[in-house]
């Protein structure tokens, strides 16, 4: 008897029903399911009676690569039904796919992703033919809302078309060959009994062919050795590698969060309803939940809107020829009736992907309602995920397991204490209760090197650890994954970003997670405020260059952020507009960019001449804020842009001074913030060059020529500008001024008055008053 192949879409209620029905009718002797074969000995664990969704979590680490992946199961997963119903019908149930650590799964984090997404050509053609937006809409239309009769035949036709002539990649080919070996073994073992094979529909046409060809007992035509019992051997991971699979609790939110190639069927809460009560009831429930959520958020939804949404949804159902309302009918109806604005982002259900910032709030609620917040729970008898053991081992090794009552004082410059601190921080970012930090460094340049951790109530610690087990097998991995998730969640803001970044530094997870890096850089690219972004860059650069404590100096985490932030800042700075005045945070940002170019050039994608060119353009841009122009002028100098290009600072000063003393002060503030050495030092060294006038000389003559009133109004700005010089340099400048006037004396006295400036000002006013009186009565003029 040959095998019966059921090609399914993972997480499809229609397919789950089909599997259930087929098992009932066929009463198979063997049920083979796409799933990690290394779990076969532990299938009982899966059937302990968990609250779904749960996931088989697999981790792998060797010298070259580390990978984690999930095989999520929910109530309406066809694989889950095959497992449960197969057992109930007395069949032998087996997982037949390669273990998750196998190289065939490299780059895959979701075993039950839609394989056809990777071979999109056929689905695109079908979408065009049926005039629908996305393959999800296509699937609903063809399978979920249609009555069940003939479903198997339609699925076969669909997947035959989707697979078509597509050449599967080597990973998929290896998996298919392996699964086929199991099918052949099962057919041989079953004798006359039927064999049911439940796999992703994309693999099914290939499996059908492979299973009927080649392969005899003992050695398989495709190279998979058969064990003594006649079943294919489960490949074992290389000896030096760590690998394993465990059950972890999962959530609808996590299930819905996969994007792109990793994504499966979206909107788990909606499909849970479809599974439990059918599409019509699910549509009603969705409408109700969305309206409740919106009203809870004070978003006005009137009865008229509700009627409109309902009638639109029904109209769309009819127009699209759906016998029962589909997910997008309801969502489209709601969107049409409730949104009375122009949208910034397309409706998310028209494409595959996660929500982007700027999505209309009503749409966000709609997607959230579809996604649901159900969280799975494991049966208490389930073996704990590896994270639990890892944490226990680490705490024991580091002497941190002194019970809930002990507090710790850690010296971060001590290697062992630093490791302890990292473990505690990792537990903190995973949200595991037990300890809280009461003192320690608050940011990257906080010169505090001790931390104090105090005990906190630790109820729910075990449950939290099990839950966090879904993030990774080891504490470090899990913390990195949790931080990545937090990065994805934050609205673009420098504060939140800096916080994640510093947490990553504290946890020491930077090198572990490629994904965290990508996310951080992407978020950096979305920031809009120059000042905070400049602070992020300055801090990051400081840590990258000088860190001796956290061990992140010259590390890839910070390098990626430095490049991203520099690029973004250059873009923002060249577009900056604004009025007069000195924007110190912005000047600090320019300084940070200069430092990045000077000290971390090897990390940057932009070259030094390019940055110098940008600086030159800003310095000449009449619309740019004047302090920024000064700063850009300075940056151009500091980066060694040819002085001929930017012009002589003295000439520049003269032209700026023409715009008033205020502007001059602001411009100088920018210049001095960036390049006070370059501009003043060079003039001093070049004193013997007869033609070149020193900047100080020019300034002196410009300032002396100012009318009193202009001088007074420009004074604050000028003072601010010279505040960028440390006292010693100011003293040098003062000395230069004295020499210019041929006066000998201590330049220091020029810098600091002994009296209160207000008193001096009053004295000055009094003196002027007296001399005016004297001259009025003809008594003056005698100096």
């Amino acid at each position: 008897m040959s095998a019966v192949f059921l090609g399914v879409r993972h997480h499809s209620p229609a397919c789950a029903r089909l599997v259930e029905r087929t098992i009932e009718e066929l009463r198979p002797a063997h049920v083979l399911v796409e799933g990690p074969a290394d779990m076969n000995a532990r299938l009982d664990e899966l059937l302990l009676g968990h609250e779904l969704p749960v996931a088989v979590f697999s981790h792998y680490r060797d010298g070259q690569r580390a990978a984690t992946s999930w095989a999520p199961l929910c109530d309406y997963s066809p694989e889950w039904i095959a497992l449960r119903a197969g057992r109930a019908a007395g069949a032998e149930v087996r997982f037949i796919d390669l273990p998750a650590w196998h190289p065939a799964f490299a780059e895959r984090t979701n075993r039950y992703a839609d394989a056809e997404v990777r071979y999109a050509e056929a689905t695109e053609r079908l979408c065009r033919h049926f005039a629908v937006d996305s393959s999800d809409a296509l699937w609903d239309r063809l399978f979920e809302v249609e009555p069940d009769n003939g479903l198997a035949a339609r699925l076969d036709a669909y997947f035959a078309l989707v697979r078509g002539d597509a050449e599967a990649d080597s990973g998929d080919r290896a998996r298919e060959a392996y699964m086929a070996a199991w099918v052949r073994a099962a057919v041989a073992a079953a004798g006359e009994g039927p064999v049911l094979v439940v796999t992703g529909g994309f693999h099914q046409p290939a499996l059908r062919v492979l299973a009927s060809s080649g392969g005899d007992r003992g050695s398989d035509a495709h190279g998979w050795a058969l064990g003594a019992d006649g079943w294919p051997e489960v490949p074992a991971p290389p000896e030096e590698a760590q690998a394993g699979s465990f059950l972890v609790p999962y959530s609808f939110r996590q299930l819905d969060a996969f994007a792109g190639y990793q994504s499966g069927m979206p909107s788990p809460a909606y499909y849970q309803q479809v599974w439990e009560a059918g599409p019509r009831a699910a549509a009603d429930a969705l409408l109700r939940v969305v309206v409740e959520r919106l009203r809870a958020r004070k978003f006005p939804v009137s009865t008229a809107d509700l009627i409109a949404a309902r009638s639109l949804a029904e109209g769309l159902t009819a127009l699209r020829g759906h016998p029962r309302p589909a997910r997008i009918d309801v969502l489209d109806g709601l969107a049409g009736a409730l949104i009375t604005d122009d949208l910034d982002r397309p409706l998310p259900w028209t494409t595959r992907g996660t929500l982007t910032t700027g999505t209309h709030p009503a749409v966000v609620e709609m997607v959230a309602a579809c996604s649901g917040d159900r969280v799975g729970r494991l049966h208490p008898a389930t073996p704990a995920p590896p994270l639990v053991h890892d944490v226990a081992a680490q705490l024991g090794r580091l002497g941190l397991d002194g019970g809930g009552g002990s507090s710790y004082r850690l010296d971060l410059t001590d290697a062992a204490d630093l490791e302890r601190s990292r473990v505690l921080h990792r537990l903190r970012v995973l949200g595991i209760p037990g300890h809280g930090r009461t003192a320690g460094p608050e940011h990257g340049i906080d010169p505090v090197f001790t931390e104090r951790w105090e005990p906190r109530p630790s109820q729910g610690r075990e449950a939290a650890l099990v839950e966090a087990g879904a993030y990774g097998a080891s504490l470090a991995e899990a913390a990195a994954a949790a931080l990545t998730e937090r990065t994805q969640g934050v609205a673009a803001g420098a504060d939140a970003l800096a916080e994640v970044l510093f947490d990553a530094v504290l946890c020491g997870v930077g090198t572990l997670s490629e994904q965290l890096l990508t996310e951080l850089v992407a978020r950096t690219g979305e920031l809009k405020a120059v000042g905070p972004l400049g602070d992020v860059l300055a801090t990051t650069l400081g840590l990258w260059r000088h860190d001796r404590v956290f061990g992140v100096a010259r590390g890839p985490l910070l390098a990626a952020v430095i490049d991203g932030a520099t690029e973004r800042l250059l873009w923002l700075l060249e577009g900056a507009r604004g009025g007069p005045g000195v924007d110190l945070p912005r000047l600090r940002a320019v300084v940070a960019v200069r430092n990045a170019v000077l000290h971390a050039q090897e990390l940057l994608a932009v070259s030094r001449p390019t940055v110098a060119g940008i600086a030159l353009r800003i310095s000449r841009d009449a619309d740019a804020p004047i302090d920024l122009r000064g700063a850009a002028f300075g940056m151009h100098r500091a980066l060694g842009g040819s002085p001929g290009a930017s012009g002589d600072p003295a000439a520049a000063v003269r032209s700026v001074a023409a715009a008033g003393a205020d502007a001059l002060g602001d411009w100088l503030a920018g210049l001095f913030a960036l390049a006070r050495d370059e501009v003043t030092g060079e003039a001093e060294g070049g004193g013997d060059r007869s033609g070149a006038e020193s900047l100080v000389d020019v300034l002196d003559s410009v300032v002396c020529a100012l009318p009193d009133h202009d001088f007074l109004s420009g004074l604050p700005a000028l003072r601010q500008a010279f505040a960028f010089f440390p006292p010693r340099e100011r003293e040098r400048i003062a000395g230069q001024l004295l020499r210019r006037r041929g006066v000998r004396g201590s330049s220091r006295t020029l810098l600091r008055t002994t009296a209160d400036p207000l008193v001096i000002a009053r004295a000055g006013a009094l003196e002027r008053n007296v001399s005016r009186l004297l001259s009025r009565y003809g008594l003056g003029a005698a100096p």
């Binding site: 639109l312 109209g315 409706l347 982007t356 923002l572 619309d623």
Partner: protein, 378 residues
């Protein structure tokens, strides 16, 4: 079909005949084979109207609107209910084309159009008078000059209201009673002529662009009577590129330019438009350009239609100045006029884009674009 077409529009001298004339044959085919139920007053069923717009290659119906099919679904269903349809979006996203196509499909006539503007008055929406007749005969049905809304109501057709947000608010609000009560009272006339009731098939498609004066100022009462649909720029590069290439080739032939546009140059041009549109600099250096934010977007319109017109200018420039297809340098020269218009901000943004983002792109044409950046006039 021609019975409903205003005379003169089908002659060869017409620059751009309305959709119902351009696609008369397709409409006839659809009407003949239309077995689905039609909403009262409609010339086609919803499904046939949908096929008319989205296209159906098997039946020889061309694809006329490149965009999400679900948008067309929602638009058509909205029109079959008692709410009006409001198409909003950036300029140049084919809102007017869509409304023309829908009107042609649903009513067989897309010419009942009110063009909104600062000077639009209620007369141009509902009705005015023939003053010679009014003075001679007094108010009568004969001296009444019906405007598109009144005609649409009396004849049961779709009325298009273009750029509705450019009208003064009080003029916009004159639509309120018309949309909810579906009747216009003409107080000057007595008897049955004094009330014009909307016949089945009447509805309004309004368009508004998000640049001039957004829909925010529109009164809540009026907003409530419309379902809003945002029309987005074409989401994927290949589709947009194909569309631009097709349109430009036609335009260039018409302008007497012999060589077809260089596809690589077009790709650079369309890529530039897409990045600027998405807000270049916002993590868009990989070309996806998806994460742009409002403040980075240029104030000039970077629509597909603008891309076509720049590509046209590029081709013309290359051919008539040098006798060859347009090059990346021509793109830079022509971009200044489009992407920057009269805004120095936009010009600066464009320069910034050329200086900072283009060098990161790979390919000879991108390189050429970068090398030609000095052509951007100061």
């Amino acid at each position: 079909m021609t019975a409903q077409t205003p005379d003169g529009v089908s002659g060869p001298s017409v620059q751009r005949p309305p959709a119902e004339v351009r696609y008369a044959a397709e409409l006839d085919t659809l009407r003949a084979g239309d077995g689905d139920p039609r909403p009262p007053g409609w010339q086609l069923s919803l499904r046939a109207a949908r096929r008319f717009i989205i296209g159906d290659t098997d039946a020889g119906i061309s694809r006329k609107f490149v965009g999400n099919p679900s948008l067309v679904d929602r638009a058509l269903v909205t029109l079959a209910t008692n709410r009006g349809l409001m198409l909003v979006g950036e300029p140049g996203t084919a809102k007017s084309l869509l409304s023309e196509l829908i009107a042609a499909a649903v009513s067989g006539d897309s010419t009942l159009t009110v063009q909104g503007g600062a000077a639009t008055t209620e007369d141009q929406i509902k009705y005015g008078w023939n003053y010679a007749l009014l003075v001679a005969e007094g108010p009568s049905a004969r001296s009444l000059v019906p405007a598109p809304m009144l005609r649409g109501m009396a004849e049961g057709r779709l009325v298009r209201f273009e750029e509705i947000t450019r009208c003064p608010l009080e003029v916009q609000d004159s639509l309120l009673s018309l949309l909810s009560e579906r009747v216009v009272a003409i107080p000057e006339l007595t008897g049955p002529d004094g009330m014009v009731f909307a016949r089945q098939g009447f509805n309004v498609i309004a368009t508004a662009n998000t640049r001039d004066r957004g829909v925010n100022e529109m009164s809540a009462a009026l907003k409530r009577r419309f379902n809003f649909e945002t029309v987005f720029p074409i989401p994927d590069l290949d589709t947009e590129l194909a569309l631009v290439e097709a349109e430009v080739s036609t335009l260039l032939r018409r302008s007497g330019v012999e060589p077809p546009p260089d596809r690589d140059v077009l790709e650079v041009l369309v890529g530039t438009f897409r990045e600027l549109r998405a807000g270049a600099g916002a993590g868009g250096s990989d070309g996806s350009g998806g994460s742009g934010t409002g403040s980075d977007r240029p104030s000039a319109v970077m629509s597909t239609a603008e891309a076509v017109s720049v590509a046209h200018a590029v081709g013309v420039r290359g051919w008539f100045l040098r006798g060859e297809p347009g090059s990346a340098a021509d793109v830079v020269a022509c971009l200044a006029g489009t992407a920057a218009k009269d805004s120095p901000e936009d010009l600066a943004r464009l320069r910034r884009y050329l200086e900072q983002h283009v060098p990161r792109r790979r390919g000879p044409q991108w390189q050429a674009l970068y090398d030609a950046r000095h052509l951007l006039a100061d």
